[in-house]
C-alpha cells in the first residue's frame, strides 16, 4: 500500500518563492457548497490541501434519535439534495431490513424507476458543474435543462421537485398518476441525443481532456483504502457496484434487470451502449475517467428506467402503502449501504423496541470521497483543485449531515 502513496522528490530547480496560505471557501464558486479548503501554495503549485467541513452540519443523526423512521424520512432528502429519492430509498430499505419487510413487485419496479431517474439527475448536475469548474458554462445549462425535466416528472409524481420523500418505509407515498409513465418514456426519448451533445461539448473536447487526463490519478488501492465508493471507485477500475454486489434486500430490487457494472478494470468499459473513444492520454483513475463513468451510467440508468417501466406495467397488484407512522420497531440493529449516485450511502438503525430508534447512523459516501483530496492534491496546480474536487462530485449536505 505504501508504494501507492505520493513520493516526495527533490527535483525541480526554480526561483525561490514564498509559500502562501489560501482559504478556498467556504464561500467559493467551485467548492460545491460550503466546503473550505486551506491550500498551502507555492506560486501556482499547491503543496498541501486541508479540507475543513462541518459548515452545513444539521445534526441529522441526533434528529433521527428523536423521530420515528417515517418522520425522519424527509430529513434524508436533505442529505444529498441532488438525489433525494436515492436517500429515501437507502433509509427505507434500512428500516425495512430491520423490520424484515418485503415490498411487492410493483413497488420494487417503481422504486427502480424513480431511483434511476434520480441517478440521472444527480449525474447530470455532476457533469454540468464539472464543466463549470473547468470554465465551460454551457454544459451546465444544458444538463440543468434536462435535469429540470426530471424534476418536472417528480413534481407530477409527488408534488415536490427536490425533496420528494417519495419512497417511504414500506412502500411509496402514492402510485404514479395516469400517463406519467408515458411522459417518462417521452423524456428518455428526447434526452438520448442530448448525451451526444454533451460528449461533443465536454467528453471529447481537447481542452477538457487536457484539463482532466492524468489529473488526480487515484489507484485502485488508494480508492479502496480511503473507502471511496460509487463512480469515484469505479473510475479507478474497481468492478464494484452495490446494485450487483450489495446485500440481498437491495440487490433483489434489481432482479430480472439486464445491466452491467460500468467500470474498466481491464481498460475497457462495457459496450452495451456505444460510447465515444477513450482518449489515449487518460490514465485509469484520473478525473476524466471518474467523469466518464458518470456519463456512461446516465445512459445505463436510462436503460434501467425503460426496463423498469416495462416491468412495472406488467406487474400485477398495487403498490405498497407505507408502514404506520408510529409503528413499534423490533429490537435489533440494521445497517445497509445502497448505491446512491455519489457512492455507497449507508444508513444504520439501532432499536430498543420503541417506535423511535435508539441510534441512527448516516454514513455519507461523499465524506469518504472527500477524505482522499489531501492525497490527490499534492503538487498540483491551483487550477487542478477544482478539476479534482469536481470530479469527486461532492455534496456538502451529505458530508456535513
Amino acid at each position: 500500500m505504501s508504494t501507492e502513496r505520493m513520493q516526495p522528490e527533490t527535483v525541480e530547480f526554480d526561483v525561490r518563492t514564498d509559500e502562501m496560505l489560501i482559504n478556498m471557501g467556504p464561500q467559493h464558486p467551485s467548492t460545491h457548497g460550503v466546503l473550505r479548503l486551506v491550500l498551502r501554495t507555492d506560486g501556482e503549485v499547491v503543496n498541501e490541501v486541508t479540507p475543513h467541513i462541518g459548515y452545513l452540519h444539521r445534526c441529522a443523526e441526533k434528529i433521527g434519535e428523536n423521530l420515528t423512521p417515517r418522520q425522519f424520512l424527509p430529513y434524508t432528502d436533505r442529505l444529498d439534495y441532488l438525489a433525494g429519492i436515492s436517500m429515501n430509498l437507502g433509509w427505507a430499505l434500512t428500516v425495512e431490513k430491520l423490520l424484515g419487510h418485503k415490498v411487492s413487485e410493483k413497488t420494487r419496479h417503481l422504486r427502480v424507476i424513480v431511483a434511476e431517474l434520480s441517478r440521472i439527475a444527480s449525474h447530470l448536475v455532476a457533469a454540468g458543474c464539472y464543466g463549470l469548474d473547468l470554465g465551460s458554462f454551457t454544459p451546465f445549462m444544458w444538463t440543468f435543462r434536462e435535469r429540470e425535466k426530471i424534476l418536472d416528472l417528480y413534481e407530477d409524481l409527488c408534488g415536490a421537485r427536490l425533496t420528494c420523500s417519495y419512497i417511504t418505509v414500506g412502500g411509496v407515498t402514492a402510485d404514479v398518476p395516469d400517463g406519467w409513465l408515458k411522459k417518462c418514456e417521452e423524456f428518455l426519448t428526447q434526452f438520448e441525443p442530448v448525451i451526444d451533445d454533451l460528449h461533443a461539448l465536454l467528453t471529447n473536447n481537447a481542452i477538457f481532456i487536457q484539463r482532466t487526463a492524468g489529473i488526480g490519478v487515484m489507484s485502485k488501492a488508494t480508492a479502496l483504502d480511503y473507502g471511496c465508493t460509487g463512480p469515484v471507485l469505479r473510475g479507478s477500475g474497481v468492478d464494484w457496484d452495490l446494485r450487483r454486489d450489495g446485500e440481498p434486500i437491495y440487490t433483489e430490487m434489481y432482479d430480472g434487470y439486464t445491466w452491467r457494472v460500468i467500470a474498466a478494470p481491464e481498460g475497457k468499459y462495457p459496450d452495451d451502449h456505444p460510447y465515444p473513444p477513450v482518449p489515449p492520454e487518460t490514465i485509469l483513475g484520473d478525473s476524466w475517467h471518474r467523469y466518464f463513468v458518470r456519463m456512461l451510467e446516465v445512459v445505463q440508468s436510462m436503460d434501467l428506467v425503460r426496463q423498469g417501466i416495462e416491468k412495472y406495467s406488467m406487474a400485477a397488484g398495487d403498490v405498497d402503502e407505507p408502514i404506520p407512522l408510529k409503528k413499534k420497531l423490533p429490537k435489533g440493529e440494521a445497517y445497509l449501504e445502497t448505491e446512491a449516485p455519489k457512492g455507497q450511502m449507508g444508513f444504520g438503525i439501532v432499536s430498543d423496541g420503541s417506535p423511535v430508534p435508539w441510534r441512527v447512523r448516516v454514513k455519507s459516501s461523499s465524506f469518504c470521497n472527500l477524505s482522499v483530496t489531501p492525497e490527490l492534491c499534492q503538487g498540483v496546480l491551483v487550477a487542478d483543485i477544482p478539476a479534482i474536487i469536481g470530479s469527486l462530485d461532492l455534496v456538502l449536505g451529505e458530508i456535513d449531515r
Binding site: 505520493m6 522528490e9 530547480f13 526561483v15 514564498d18 503549485v45 481498460g267 477513450v278 489515449p280
Partner: protein, 206 residues
C-alpha cells in the same frame, strides 16, 4: 496670434506630469506605488515624444519603458513582498548622496543642452532637413547605416552608410539575454516537489 497654443499647453502638461511623478518616485516608500508613479512619468515622456511628432519613438517608449516597468512591478511584488505592502525607508545620508548625484547630472544636462547652437534659437531659423515621406522605413535604413534624411549630403561621413547600428544593437540584445538567463540561474533554488510515483496506475490504452 492664437489665444491658446494647445501644443504648448500639452507640452507643459506632459512635462509637469513627468517631473512631478519623477519626484514622487523618489519620495514614495512603497515599491508598487513607486513603480506606478514611474509608469506615469514615463508615459508622460512618451506623450512629449508624440507632441514632437516622433510617433515611433513615443510608441517605443510606451512599449519598452512602460511595459518594462510593468515587469519590474511584477518582480517587485513576487520577489520582495514579505507582507502585503512593502515600505522602504531612505536614510538621510542616502538622500544627501542621491541629491548630489542628481544635482550634478542636472547641471551637466542643462549645460549641454544650452551649448548646442541648433537648440538655442527659434525653430524657423534652422535649416530644414530634406522632406521625406514620414514612414518608419527611415528607422530601418538607419539601423542598416543609411541616414535617409542626409542622403543629399556629399560627405560620406555625414551621409552615414559606413556602419549601421544593427551590429551594436544585436550585440546589446544578446548581452541582455545572457544577463537575464544568468540572473535566473543565480536566483534558482532547489525545491521539494511531490511527484506522483509511476506505479500508481497502469496507463490505460483502449
Amino acid at each position: 496670434m492664437d489665444a491658446i497654443n494647445w501644443h504648448s499647453f500639452f507640452f507643459l502638461m506632459c512635462a509637469l506630469v513627468a517631473c512631478t511623478f519623477a519626484i514622487a518616485v523618489v519620495i514614495a516608500s512603497n515599491i508598487v506605488r513607486m513603480a506606478c508613479y514611474l509608469v506615469i512619468s514615463l508615459a508622460a515622456v512618451a506623450g512629449l515624444f508624440f507632441l514632437a511628432g516622433a510617433d515611433f519613438l513615443g510608441a517605443a517608449q510606451l512599449m519598452v519603458y512602460v511595459g518594462g516597468t510593468m515587469v519590474l512591478l511584477v518582480f517587485g511584488v513576487m520577489l520582495t513582498a514579505r507582507g502585503p505592502f512593502v515600505s522602504m525607508k531612505t536614510g538621510p545620508a542616502q538622500w544627501l548622496v542621491a541629491l548630489m548625484a542628481a544635482g550634478a547630472l542636472l547641471f551637466v544636462l542643462v549645460q549641454a543642452s544650452f551649448s548646442i547652437p541648433a537648440w538655442a534659437g527659434p525653430l524657423a531659423s534652422q535649416p530644414q532637413p530634406a522632406t521625406l515621406p514620414a514612414t518608419a522605413e527611415q528607422l530601418g535604413y538607419g539601423l542598416l547605416g543609411v541616414r535617409a534624411d542626409q542622403l543629399d549630403q556629399r560627405d560620406a561621413v555625414a551621409r552615414g552608410g559606413l556602419s549601421g547600428y544593427l551590429l551594436p544593437f544585436e550585440i546589446i540584445s544578446v548581452h541582455l539575454v545572457v544577463v537575464l538567463v544568468g540572473a535566473a540561474y543565480l536566483a534558482r533554488a532547489k525545491r521539494r516537489v511531490t511527484k506522483l510515483s509511476t506505479n500508481t496506475a497502469g496507463s490505460h490504452k483502449p
